[in-house]
């Protein structure tokens, strides 16, 4: 399955709806669809916010391959590279603090790293390529 989603927040919202809709053929649980939508949303929000920070015409390409061990996802974009050429660690800040000091961000990469497996990032020919697997059992897939 391939999707091309314009790099804006509203387009991401519509793109997520289209993607989840296309994945309905897999007949997964509501919880699984929730996890998938959350991971894809966090990755796309990061691309819009950082990679395409000053490129309103950017396009996010998403490929999803359902296999026995889960959904293999590949994201391509032509935006800025990741800072330091690597995926942010996404550690949670301490919540043991005053209300005024609570973190309002930094949850995105934590959630991606928590919910996705085999996360890999490459920069190739001016493109960001992010691959990962969402570990969801798909026992009913035809064996290829």
């Amino acid at each position: 399955m391939k999707f091309a989603i314009p790099g804006t927040e509203i387009a991401v919202r519509n793109g997520l709806a289209d993607t989840i809709s296309a994945l309905r053929v897999l007949n997964l649980s509501g919880e699984d669809y929730g996890t998938i939508e959350l991971v894809l949303a966090e990755v796309m929000n990061n691309i819009v916010e950082h990679a395409y920070a000053d490129s309103p015409d950017g396009v996010i390409e998403l490929t999803i391959q359902p296999k026995e061990r889960g959904l293999y996802c590949t994201f391509n974009d032509n935006g800025h590279p990741m800072p330091d050429g690597t995926v942010p660690l996404g550690n949670l800040s301490s919540l043991n603090c005053e209300v005024d000091d609570l973190p309002e961000g930094g949850f995105g990469w934590f959630l991606i790293r928590d919910l996705a497996r085999d996360l890999e990032y490459k920069r190739k020919c001016g493109k960001n390529i992010l691959t990962f697997r969402i570990a969801i059992e798909l026992p009913n897939l035809p064996v290829s």
Partner: protein, 114 residues
């Protein structure tokens, strides 16, 4: 996006009448929440029954709302769907907010907040 407000037992109940709190509306949500809470009672309960999806930007907007409240005000949450509850649990934000199973429960249960 729409926030509906009512009062009950000197508390302000805000119902988020929207299917998602995501990056596309996070800033607007925070601004409207601040306006809804401004000058209100000490206790504010945000009912999220209609919300099926929240991302990290939406979560950040709810945290930001709490930080914008007057010093004597406190934000509590009610009726989290499974997807919304999961985001609060994974990020451990469930330890920061008093979370009630329903708005009714917010007025009958002992509040468990850490």
């Amino acid at each position: 996006m729409q926030l509906e407000t009512t009062t009950r037992n000197d508390a302000l109940i805000i119902t988020a009448v929207m299917p998602r709190i995501d990056a596309a509306i996070a800033i607007q949500f925070k601004d409207e929440m601040r306006d809804a809470c401004d000058g209100g009672p000490a206790r504010v309960v945000l009912d999220l029954a209609d919300v099926d999806f929240i991302d990290s930007s939406g979560l950040g907007a709810i945290v930001a709302t709490m930080k914008l409240l007057a010093p004597d005000q406190k934000l509590e949450l009610a009726t989290l769907s499974d997807n919304v509850d999961k985001v609060f649990r994974l990020t451990r934000m469930d330890s920061v907010f008093a979370i009630h199973s329903t708005t009714d429960a917010a007025f009958t249960n002992i509040i468990h907040a850490s």
